[in-house]
Amino acid sequence: MSVEARTVQNRGAFEYLTTKKDEFVGWARKFSLFPYPFVTACCAMEFMSVSSTLYDTDRFGAALPRFSPRQSDLLMVVGTITHKQAPVLRRVYEQMCEPKWVIAFGVCATSGGFYQNYATLQGIDRIIPVDLYIPGCPPRPEMVIDGIMKLQDRIAHDSHPIIQGTF
């Protein structure tokens, strides 16, 4: 974000900032990712690990889980999705308001992982669009944090169009 700041002498405070609208909105959005954890399988353990004190995704503004899809803007699909569950995931995704992003957490959500059978959906991108894939069985917390930072970079450099007078 390029900011041209004018400070008032002796006060040390910003009086005003100039920036571009997209950069400003992207900067705000990338630090306020409210994740909806759609947690179905053993990757949940790693999700807990990365969310809690030691790794602490709160440092990236992405740790306040909203258990209503309507209040969240980051869908984290953590674990194996079965064909029986696919309609539920699709519905959760459709209930989320724009703007929204999706992370496939672990190989099962990414591609079905080592399951190839009658029950398992071979990757959630068959039913919903995915922004970021984090492989691993389960992924290391460092990989998740790396993934979140990559997503933040993308959000920061995205265009954030004004729709009907609002961002």
Partner: protein, 159 residues
């Protein structure tokens, strides 16, 4: 001789002549009976020998063998801590056995699962709706001739 050894011997003495096969296999008493005698034997296990818990109902598919399917039951005695395995064989043309729901309530769900996975009919189980699979699923996925890669998605895939 402790009860864990004595009880299987008592069951064997009572049933070895009536069962098609009877042996101690892998440390567990295993019996095989004709499908017609299944309920009789299960009642005997429950009422005479105290096998009060039905652990599981499952199947085994032997493609090429006639009769093709094994239906396998596992019982447990919570008094004596002893397990028993019970098998029966059913043919592909009529894969049906009598239900054990009159003896064990837990048989209702276990038989539904076996019906899902192997297509075994349980006569007397009034509710054989899919329990792990979903309505509209065609075929029985744990049969050996179910294609491994066949998918039956409920949501249409994105283009």
């Amino acid at each position: 001789m402790n009860v864990a050894e004595a009880l299987p011997q008592r069951v064997l003495a009572r049933w070895s002549s009536l069962a098609q096969e009877a042996a101690i296999a892998h440390g567990t008493l295993a019996l095989r009976v004709a499908p017609e005698r299944l309920v009789e034997l299960a009642s005997s296990l429950k009422l005479e020998f105290g096998f009060d818990l039905l652990l599981d109902v499952t199947g085994v598919d032997w493609p090429g063998r006639d009769p093709r399917f094994d239906v396998v039951y596992h019982f447990y005695s919570t008094r004596d801590f002893v397990r028993t395995r019970l098998k029966t064989r059913v043919p592909e043309c009529e894969p049906a056995v009598d239900s054990l729901t009159a003896l064990y309530n837990s048989a209702r769900f276990a038989e539904r699962e076996c019906h899902d996975m192997f297509g075994i009919e349980f006569r007397g189980n009034a509710d054989l709706r899919p329990i792990l699979l979903y309505e509209g699923f065609v075929g029985h996925p744990l049969r050996k001739d179910y294609p491994k890669q066949r998918e039956q998605p409920l949501v249409s895939y994105r283009k």
